[in-house]
């Protein structure tokens, strides 16, 4: 398959320029002005007035498969991803059973190939059954293609296991992704400990439940001289630790999610404790949102992930304190980022390609991805930044509809997503 994209405004992490793009099979073969292909192509796309980004990469997705296919499966997850401009997504291992062996990981790679919409990379568990006790076979996981491991949902409860995991991962060359939460301190809270939680008497999680573990993880990575990736950073205090660590040269990388640069505890109160606003880590205060935005701008936070966490309607109908944590995000991350960070003047447009494509690729070690460049994988998103759209529940492609952003009017419409040289999403 050959695709020629004409008159594109290409947005890469380091520059924006006008050019045509020619793909052949799975690769970008040419990026230049006025390409006249030597032989006929299968598809010509006129991208005049559109912006063309490298395919987005989500380091943090939950696809609920195996175990909760009623909430999401590989097909609906892939469709939602492609609709949001994502071409590579990393699914977390808190499934039933958990992805803690290479057999299951291999099966996910194979299913993902069969569906062929996006690449699904299983994230292996760090410990068997995510129990925090015994390491999984990082070597075997790496061999079938896993690039990262995580016990997401929980932090490693034992610092000695964390040490062993980081040391062992260094040898295998696999990325350790830590969900940062002091579980004892979080004490089954439902929202951020704050004026509002106190006012309504809601069991709550203090912000230091995150930053304590952030600090521990950073100290450990520094001591062992290993890399570590911190999932869904949500508090101002965590940002301070990451910033200091980066200045000291610690090999730490961090992600945040759109809801952490968008929403606060006030939104929970304003929406009468609607469980769609319940997420872990919990929504913070205004100062946290400001700090997260600043950290994205300054590069303290490297990338934006979705932490796409589908939950059934019934589960999210439960009272706030009983409902599960999590919200979906694959279809909205790009438009939320564009509207609320780029159009709001906080991030440069190039930063979209940096935070959603180039940096995630770099962090996890995906080669030839995340940049529109000759020889790279033909993962391409064509978007119209001038068009607006409204998030409507009945238009959501994900099997679960739990998002707090219903009704939001956003700029930036993903019109086409090309994955490995194939059009996998077409809005029109």
């Amino acid at each position: 398959m050959k695709i020629l994209i004409k008159n594109a405004t290409i947005v890469n992490a380091d520059n924006i320029f006008e050019a045509d793009i020619l793909t052949a099979n799975t690769r970008i073969v040419k990026v230049a002005k006025d390409i006249t292909p030597p032989e006929p192509v299968d598809e010509v796309i006129d991208a005049k007035g559109k912006h063309v980004f490298p395919g987005f990469i989500d380091l943090h997705t939950h696809l609920r498969t195996p175990g909760r296919e009623d909430e999401e499966d590989f097909l609906t997850g892939s469709q939602a991803a492609a609709a949001g401009g994502f071409t590579k997504i990393f699914c977390m291992p808190n499934t039933l059973p958990s992805i803690d062996n290479e057999g299951l990981a291999k099966w996910i790679f194979e299913e993902s190939q069969k569906i062929g919409i996006v690449d699904i990379y299983p994230v292996g568990a760090i410990t068997k059954n995510r129990e925090g006790k015994e390491l999984t076979e990082f070597g075997a996981l790496r061999r079938v293609g896993c690039l990262s491991v995580s016990d997401d949902g929980v932090s490693l409860p034992d610092s000695l296991i964390l040490r062993r995991a980081l040391e062992y991962a260094k040898m295998i060359d696999i990325l350790v992704v830590e969900h940062c939460e002091d579980l004892r301190l979080a004490n089954k809270g439902a929202m951020r400990e704050s004026f509002i939680s106190s006012k309504y008497g809601v069991s709550a999680i203090p912000d230091i439940a995150e930053s304590l573990i952030v600090a521990r993880n950073i100290e450990m990575a520094k001591y062992l001289n290993t890399r570590i990736h911190l999932a869904h950073i949500s508090t101002a205090k965590s940002v301070e630790f990451v910033k200091r660590a980066k200045n000291e040269g610690v090999k730490v990388t961090a992600e945040t999610c759109p809801h952490y640069f968008m929403l606060t505890v006030d939104d929970i109160e304003e929406n009468s404790f609607d469980a769609r606003f319940k997420v872990n880590p919990p929504l913070g205060e205004k100062k946290d949102v400001e700090k997260i935005r600043e950290a994205l701008r300054d590069g303290v936070i490297d990338c934006i992930a979705t932490d796409h966490a589908p939950h059934s309607h019934a589960e999210k109908e439960l009272p706030f304190e009983d409902a599960p944590f999590g919200l979906i995000g694959l279809e909205f991350a790009f438009s939320l980022t564009y509207t609320h960070l780029v159009k709001a003047g906080i991030l440069d447009l190039k930063e979209i390609a940096n935070k959603l494509s180039a940096n995630p690729a770099k962090i996890v070690g995906l080669s030839h991805c995340g940049v529109i460049q000759e020889g790279f994988i033909a993962d391409i998103v064509i978007a119209d930044l001038n068009r607006q759209w409204i998030i409507q529940e009945d238009k959501i492609r994900s099997k679960s509809k739990n998002t707090p952003f219903i009704g939001y009017q956003l700029y930036g419409v993903v019109e086409k997503t090309i994955h490995k040289g194939k059009i996998v999403f077409n809005e029109l």
Partner: protein, 314 residues
Amino acid sequence: MEQWTKKHILGIKDLSRDEIETVFNLAASFKEISQREVKKVPALRGKTVLNLFFENSTRTRTSFELAAKRLSGDVVNFSVSTSSLAKEESIIDTIKNLETYHPDIMIIRIESSTSLHTLTKYTQASIVNAGDGRNEHPTQALLDMFTVKEVRGNVENLNVLIVGDIMHSRVARSNIFGFQRFGGKVTVCGPSTLIPYEFQNLGVKISYDFDKAIEDADVVIMLRIQKERQTSCFFPTMREYLDRFALTPERLRRAKKDVIIMHPGPINWDIEISSSLKEQVHPLILKQAENGLAVRMAVLYLVGTQKRELVEVE
């Protein structure tokens, strides 16, 4: 032969190259004696040798016992597990107690890595380290080097690769110091969780890639791996350990033709070394055991006779 001045043999760290060579020369003579019909020499006649094993090791204890007997020493074995001697204090009490018999040499195997220096204060005897915790196992390194010297004709400037659980290994530490005395370049290879980062500062190279590391090696020392290392999370499974760090025929094919494969024993076949390599590697590993006797005779001879002029062995 030069005058031997070391009272104790606590570790290879403390031995000079000349001293190690003295051991080798003497061991070579003793090895020759072991092939005679009458295997005894009177060097330690009238001397009392205590073989104190606070940790189980039939092989090393037997080797030392036999070495002392071949030198005509009076050997007493004293094996007691540290569990019945709860604290180090009671080890000191034991040493004080045994000191009343005026022993000349105490051969000690002990679980603690830091006790031997302390114990020297409580006895007039020479202490020979038969393995102290993770610290050193000097006679093992001496016999390893002696074996290499015998097989290759030299022990100088070799590339030595030590594979396995480096962190917990006294054999690794003693061999590092030993081969380095002779200009050797030592590489340690094993799971990243079992190699202390600080080993770089010992001047050794750290590798996690056995396939690659074996290519330049003149000598490969395979260490014993303990099952408990897996249960305490140093690596996920034995399967994954073997996949990376077992000596297999495929790996051995990557090595130099004249590579020397050693193992301190006892070997877990199909764990550290594939049993299909048995015929190829076992004879040399048995030779190590044989040389162990000669080296231990040399060591006992040197510390047991240091107060008088060294006499020719024959």
